[in-house]
Each structure stands twice: as C-alpha cells, then as structure tokens.
Symmetry: C2
Subunit: 458 residues, 2 copies
C-alpha cells in the first residue's frame, strides 16, 4: 500500500476509499472516445465536503494529481483518470439539500442526477431548465463542471445562467463559498462563473445553489420534413428572423433520420433530407400560435410535410426521434460526436460543409443538433476494425471543427474540452487567452494537482 | 512634464492626451458620495484599442497606476482617480460597430451609452435588456465593468447574461480576445464573465459582443397603493408565488412617494405607505391578463387603490414616478444610495428593518427598488452641514448593509464595490474568497497597476 493510500485510509471512513483494482476500473473513464485514461492509486467516494478536503490535502502534500468525477457521462475525457492519481468521485454526495419556492433556488450536492433534481423541483411547481440529452444519467456536478447545455437552451440558456452560488474545495483543501442566494449580486469577482466550465481544474464543486424558474406550460410540438438540406436551413433562418420564442428547435439530417427509422422502427420518410422539430412552451393559445407560425414558415420554405402534434403524447413521440438519434447512429458503427457551435446565420452553410467532408473522406456523418442556437453534433460513424476508415473518421472529426472555426464558431458548444480537444482549444482561443488560462490555473492551483492536463495541455 | 507624460505624448495623438489640470478635474470622480479621489498625472482619451495598449504599457513600465473610466456615472467610486495615476477614458470609443439581426448580437465599443445602443438595436427589431436607471448617461463599458442591472432584470437578467465576447487590454498591454459570437460555447474558462464586474481591476474592456433578444411587446403597466408596508410586502410574495412573468416590479415607500409628489407635482396619495409598479411585456391578451392578475393579488392583499394604465403613455407616466424617485429624494438633502439585494422571501422584513434603522438613528431613509428581484436601494437623506446628522447617515448606510447580510443578502446587487464598500466586501465574502480574489488579481496584474485598491483594499 502506498503512503498516499495509507494516509487516505487513516482519515476516511472505510466505505469512502476504494483501492481494489477491479472496482477502480470503472472509475477510469468517462464516455469520451479515443481519450487516454490512466490507473488511479485510489478512488475516494466522498460522502461529505470534509472527505474531499482531506483527500485534496493529502494529494497536495504528496504532489499527487486529483481527478474529480461526477457520473462519468462526459464526452471529452475531462473525468478520465491519470496514472497514479486520486480519483475523487462525488457520486455519493447525492442529496438535494433545500428547495426554496419563493426565492426560487435549490441547494444541492453535486452527485444528484439532473433528472432527479428536475423532478424534485417540479414537485414544488419549479423548473430547472438545463436539460442535457444525458439528463437521466449525468450529475449536476458534471453539468456545472462542463457548463452543460441541452435541448431547451435556445429559450432558457445553459448551466452557468442558473448558478447563484457554489461551495468549492480549493487546491489546498480550503473551502471556498462563493456567490449568493439572491437574484442579483455583484460583490466582487464572479468566481462561481469562473469555476463553472473549468472541468475540475480550478476546484472541486461540493455544493451548488441554483436558480429556478416557475414551471413552464405544457409544450406544443411540431415537426417538418424537407427534401433538401438548404431548404431546412432557410426555414431555420426564417423562424429565427420571425422572433418567435421556441423552447426547442432541433434538426436531424437524412443519415440520422434513416438511422432512427431503422432503430426505432419509425415511419419517417426515408427520402427526407432533413427534419426539424420545434416546441413552444408559451402555453395555451400563444403556444399553439407559435407552433402554427413555425409550421407555416416551414411550408413556405419548401417543407414536404408538417406534423403538428395534437397532444403532449404525440409531441413526445416526435421528440423521441431526436432523443434516439445518437443511440440509433451508434447502431451503425463506432461514433465520434462533434459539438461545434456556429453563428446561426452560418448554420445551413455549416451543415453543407459537413456533408462535403463526409463525401470527400468517404465516411458517414450524421448531422443533428440544436438548430435554434447553432450548436450542432455532427456524428462521425465508422468501422473501428478498419484502420484506414478509423483514420479518415478522425480526420473528419477534426475537419468538422476546422470548418466550424472558419465560420466564426467554437469547437465546443456544450461538451467541453477535456483531453479530446486540447489542441483545438489552443487553435480557437489563441496564445494570449491560453496564457491567461495558465495564469489563472497557476494562481488557484500552484502545485498543478487539480485535474492536470485537462482543458490546457501541460 | 513628468517622464510618463512625455512618453504618452510621444505615442498618442495630441487630442488623446489631456494634462491641463482644469480639464482633468472632471475626470477625477464618478458619482459616488464620500469616496476619496486623487489627481491624475494625465487623462488618455483613447480613440482606439492601440491607444489603451500604449498607455498601459507605459504605465506598466513606470509602475504608475491606471484608472479606466467610462461615463463616470458609477455609484461606488470604482472610476475615481488615484493620485499620480493615468486615467484611461473610453468615452471617445463610442461607436456601435456591427448589429447582426439573425445571430442576434451587437459588437460595440465601450464608450457607447446604454440608451444609444438600445435605440440602435431597436431599429433592427432587437432588444438589449439591461436597463440601469442611468441608461441615458451610462456607458456600456461601465455597465460591463460593474455588471449593471436595471428595471427589467426581474425578467431578463443582468449585463453578464448578455456578454458573448470581449476584447480586453491586459495589464501588460497585450490584447485578449475572449468569448464568442455563437449562442453557446464552452471552450475554456469563461474569462469574459470573470472580466465583467471586475471594475477595471483585471483588464480594460475595449470592445464587446453582446447578445440581443427579439423586441419585446408593448408593456402593460399597473400601480397599486398600500396603506402599510407589510401589506405591500405580502402582495409581492403572492405575485412571485403566482409565477406570473413580469418585466418590471418596483416598490417605493412613503418617504419616496412624498418626495416624488413634491418634486413632480404628482397626485399620489400622501397617506399611502407603499406603492408597487408592475409591467408585463408578454404582449396582447397575455400581457393584459398578467397585469389584471397582479392587480387582483394586490387588492386581495389590501391595496387601497389599483391603477391599470389604459395605454402605454399612461403606463409611462406611472413609471415616471419611479424614475424620478432618486432625483426627488436628492431635493430633500444629500443622499447616499444603498444597493442591498436580499432573498425575495426576506424583502418585507428587510424593508421593515430599514424603517427601524431610520427611526432608531433619527434619519430619513427613502426605500425604493426592484422588488421583483429583491434588490433595494434604501436611500439615506441628510443635511451634510450637520456633522452629527452626517455621522448618523453613515451609520444608517452601514446598518442597512449589515441587516441585508443578516438576511442572507449581498451588499451590492448592481452598483459594485469600488472604494465605497471594500470593507463590507471582505465582510460578505470572507477570507478564503478574498484570498482567491487576490490570487486572481496577482495572476492577471502582477504589478498591481490596474485600478489598484478598487474592490479589494490593498
């Protein structure tokens, strides 16, 4: 037993320390493809903030890296273990601590799953909007660390927009409480929003106070099918130009439609080049009018079919096609999911360029994503047993980011950088911003023990 | 002429450099009361980013402090000059550079006034929500540096919620471009939101890309008068509990109502203890229904009178009472405006405690503010020529913050810390957060030349 493990065993309860290699195996990886993962010395299953503090202090003293983990549902390798690290898992800190209906906030531990939190606040007539597709198996701590988005961002924004306050264990084991319980507040630097999205490199989130909204109305849903990608792109522009406030606006291309048809045995027309799905949660007649307007704009822009859901169940069915998309593409082969966001005005062009990449590299790319905010998930599908194809897949994955940047976009709209996109981050933000990243990292973690090498390569 | 001034004269065009003491006088202060202000060596009226860079480089080389200034409308002394500093005024960088209707963003220089920007984007059917009361004479750069709020925050949030990207001159004169032009993006640390609200202590904002919304509908307005403060407080709670989405919910107490009556010759009932003003911009019947519901809730909670505006002009008249409040209080004596935000559930209690403070210290406090988000501006009114009263006024000002903190609130909801509230900031955030502030400041400004001593005392 190494010294570090011995020290951990001295201060942690038995159930909070895992050193068995078989049990540790599942704590090595998140869900990112092709990211290296090391083997930890130990996994700490923290039950309380004091466990996190104790582990970080021991790590700091020993100069051992610490990798914080939530539900390991991330897609960029940010939670992957490093050789000889201490993994600090927050999955056992899974309690919703307080829900305040008048002040509209929830205080939660980081290990609570997004869906659990959402349902808990819904019982009080409240709404926590950020809704990553993985909401049933991703944790709030992970959402905070990657600044997750989701389907309803187009109307409600992303995780950082809901963060009021955080409790954070710093690199020296001290506890930082930052932020507030009030709607507004400008007392000092916005440390909470700095920690959000920092992927565990600046501190470990052990508690969060999150803003809530009143529950939205029952959504109205419609879908439109197009026989050409550009027609769908033009319809999206018209929808945005109209100013209609949608709570969801998603797109799937032909590859994705066909994959979903095969997987879910849905009856979507195989010849459709693109499908839009839109929702309005304005409620009552306003919601119906929003959806009718979107349907009209789709028809005016060449939709071959518009389906307006008669009731929430039918709406849910339409949405299921979108929700099943990634799993359906997974059935076709190994997938690498990109996460490029472009200015909305360039969306149609971006989709066209993804098609070009697929053709040029003779590889399958299913293009789907959040059309309403320009955040697309072109998903490269390939046969991993074919090295040449795997090579082309990697090229396609990179090429998608390259054209995203050329269109004024970003390499990651909501999945984060982790280890997967470190070199691309440098490309996107440039040397000055990279220096500022390093300066801030150095200021908050001078020994470089918190998730080292994530976001910014060492 | 000092060496520093000579160096500035060598690199800056003549019109960009002011050294005449009379002209420099007006660049010494913002609008904060009782904050010390020094005398600058020189005022740089930057016309372009390169001027800011040049001045910062000279300052860094000479170890001379730099104080960035917008429109000097701040209320915390953040823009006050320091002895021997270089003031860098951004007021001449006053151009709106681009408005993108589809992508819904505006690129602007920092010296543009909030109202000018708002009107410019309105011409494109777009809406920049943050609307500080000073919007006609405050600049976007100042709004960003203090993370300004305003009247419609209750529905639309504050400045930071609209910041997509920034150009920032760093302490060594390099230019940082951070953020994005896309709706979503998580590539690296959120440096933009760290700079926002940092009051010029981490960098000087020379350009901003701000998110816009589609123009809101014409607002519907109502006002309600109450014969007791607690009744008004209860009505506010019921309004919030109802989940109605208001674009404005303001409160004024009796002192403020009477001051407005005297100043504007309005016919508000002098015996009223409190007045609420509410707006909904939901549009059409939805807006009318919102306002009717608020009126009903006010009546159910003891309102003695409800005025529903028949048209926008009448609504504007009601709002004018609120807009005139601070000027009206100014007519009664010297004013010190507090800026405490409390959890909304504690608002009625907070207002009651402010009344207690006024009574106990035998001083006038006009309580007004943004009831919808719990951000109140209790305004101490006193006779500056009476030293004993001035002393009690200062005590009252501090006591208001103290009770705000006791109720789980913050010492500043939207005005910032500057020099006015530095000791209170330390009280609010505690030693660990203060250390993190210092570490970040040290990382980005190791020579401590950017607005030193603001936010965090040296």
């Amino acid at each position: 037993m190494s010294d570090v493990v011995e020290l951990l065993a001295q201060v942690l309860p038995r159930e909070a320390l895992v050193t068995d290699p078989d049990r540790m195996e599942s704590y090595r990886y998140d869900r990112a493809m092709f990211c290296p993962a090391g083997t930890p010395l130990a996994v700490v299953l923290a039950r309380e903030t004091a466990h996190v503090q104790a582990a970080v202090k021991i790590a700091a003293e020993a100069g051992v890296p610490v990798v914080p983990q939530g539900a390991r549902s991330g897609l960029s390798g940010a939670a992957n273990a490093l050789d000889g690290c201490i993994v600090i898992s927050l999955e056992k800190m899974d309690k919703v601590l307080a829900i305040e209906p008048i002040d509209r906030y929830v205080v939660t531990q980081p290990g609570v799953y997004n869906a659990v939190l959402s349902r808990a606040v819904a019982e009080h007539g409240l709404f926590y909007p950020p809704d990553p597709s993985s909401w049933e198996f991703c944790s709030i701590g992970g959402n905070l660390s990657t600044n997750s988005g989701g389907l309803c961002c187009v109307k409600y924004g992303v995780t950082t927009d809901y963060v009021l306050g955080l409790e954070v264990v710093l690199a020296d084991g001290r506890v930082l409480r930052t932020g507030r319980k009030t709607v507004k507040g400008v007392a000092g630097y916005d440390l909470a929003k700095l920690i959000v999205g920092s992927e565990g490199t600046l501190g470990i989130i052990t508690e969060a106070t999150l803003a809530l909204r009143p529950q939205a109305a029952q959504p109205r849903t419609m879908a439109a099918l197009f026989d050409s990608g550009p027609a769908a792109g033009e319809a999206i522009l018209e929808i945005i130009r109209s100013g209609v406030s949608l709570s969801l606006l998603e797109i799937m291309d032909q590859t994705t439609i066909r994959a979903v048809n095969a997987y879910k045995r849905m009856d979507l027309p195989e010849e459709a080049a693109a499908m839009l799905i839109a929702q309005s949660d304005a409620g009552g007649e306003a919601g119906a009018a929003d959806v009718a307007m979107v349907a009209k704009l789709c028809r005016d822009n060449g939709a071959i079919e518009c389906i307006e859901a008669d009731d929430p169940a039918e709406g849910e069915l339409l949405l299921e096609a979108r929700r099943a998309a990634l799993i359906a593409l997974d059935e076709l082969g190994t997938t690498m999911i990109d996460d490029v966001a472009v200015p909305r005005s360039r969306l149609a062009e971006f989709i066209g360029l993804c098609e070009d990449i697929a053709r040029d590299l003779d590889i399958t790319i299913g293009v789907l994503g959040h059309a309403g905010d320009g955040n697309m998930h072109p998903t490269v599908v390939f046969d991993q047993t074919d090295p040449a194809q795997a090579e082309r897949a990697q090229q396609a994955f990179d090429k998608v980011m390259e054209v995203g940047l050329q269109l004024g976009g970003t390499i990651t709209g909501e999945h984060g950088v982790g280890v997967l996109k470190r070199t691309w981050l440098a490309e996107e933000i440039g040397p000055v911003a990279l220096d500022v990243h390093r300066a801030i990292k150095q200021a908050l973690d001078p020994k470089n023990i918190l998730n080292p090498g994530k976001i910014v390569a060492e």
